[in-house]
């Protein structure tokens, strides 16, 4: 159990550091240095973000299964084990980064970029981990057959669509569409909230909603 927890932690940190953070930094640089974004926030932009999430899901599935096939025997696992572990524990954070990057590139920087990515990544991780637990955990290794790939498809689609929905719900308005006072007020409220949480936790009180 401890080995599984350590493995999940290492896989998540590795995927975040190597696969997600460079894309996030590049998208942030582009979106903040550009004069104006190509699209306004609206139905078209939301649909394009969802479409990007679907394309990201297809890419994550192809990458996971392709890596498992190419490196067969290297890690000593069966093909189905390697493919399902990669889908469940390495793919979620990059999957959550796809709609974030698409949204920030298409319509400019959001009011809450960090919170929206964190929430989307948490939702994608939870979705994939639950799916792994109910579908694949403890099952014997076998060939990477079409039936396994057919089950992997709804798993990555669920994670991608849920993370895109979470990003769209949590990102807030585009910074360019807001007056500077509103942005400053939101950041001050966020700083005040985090400092209150720190004070409460230092005094041993609950740092939750109550």
């Amino acid at each position: 159990m401890i080995g599984w927890a350590v493995g999940i932690g290492i896989a998540t940190v590795f995927a975040t550091a190597i696969l997600a953070i460079p894309a996030l930094i590049a998208a942030r640089c582009i979106s903040t240095r550009r004069a104006s974004p190509p699209l306004q926030r609206g139905g078209l932009e939301r649909n394009l973000v969802m479409l990007a999430a679907l394309i990201g899901a297809a890419g994550a599935l192809a990458w996971s299964d392709g890596w498992a096939i190419v490196n067969r025997g290297v890690v000593g696992w069966g093909l189905s084990d390697a493919a399902t572990v990669l889908v469940a524990f390495v793919a979620p954070v990059p999957l959550a980064a796809v709609p974030w990057v698409a949204g920030e590139i298409l319509s400019g920087p959001s009011l809450r970029p960090f919170a929206s990515f964190t929430a989307a990544a948490a939702v994608a991780c939870a979705s994939n981990w639950v799916c792994y637990a109910v579908l694949w955990a403890g099952r014997p290794a076998e060939r990477l057959s079409a039936s396994i790939v057919l089950v992997q498809i709804p798993v990555v689609l669920t994670a991608a669509l849920l993370s895109a929905r979470t990003y769209l719900a949590a990102r807030g308005d585009a910074i360019r569409e807001l007056p500077p006072e509103a942005v400053a007020l939101d950041r001050a409220a966020s700083d005040y909230s985090s400092s209150m949480s720190e004070n409460r936790s230092l005094r041993g009180a609950s740092s939750g909603f109550f």
Partner: protein, 44 residues
């Protein structure tokens, strides 16, 4: 024409929800199938 465009737009905007519902349903069906198969093997 206008109605068809409205319908197409509504279908496009709800396709994410439909896809999500379909995906979760497929995962649930697969889980139920695994449970049924393992209980049948346990009984034999």
């Amino acid at each position: 024409m206008d109605r068809a465009l409205r319908l197409a737009r509504a279908a496009l905007e709800s396709s994410g929800d439909v896809g999500l519902a379909l995906s979760i349903s497929l995962i649930a069906l697969r889980f139920l199938w695994i449970q049924a198969r393992s209980s049948r093997e346990g009984a034999m």
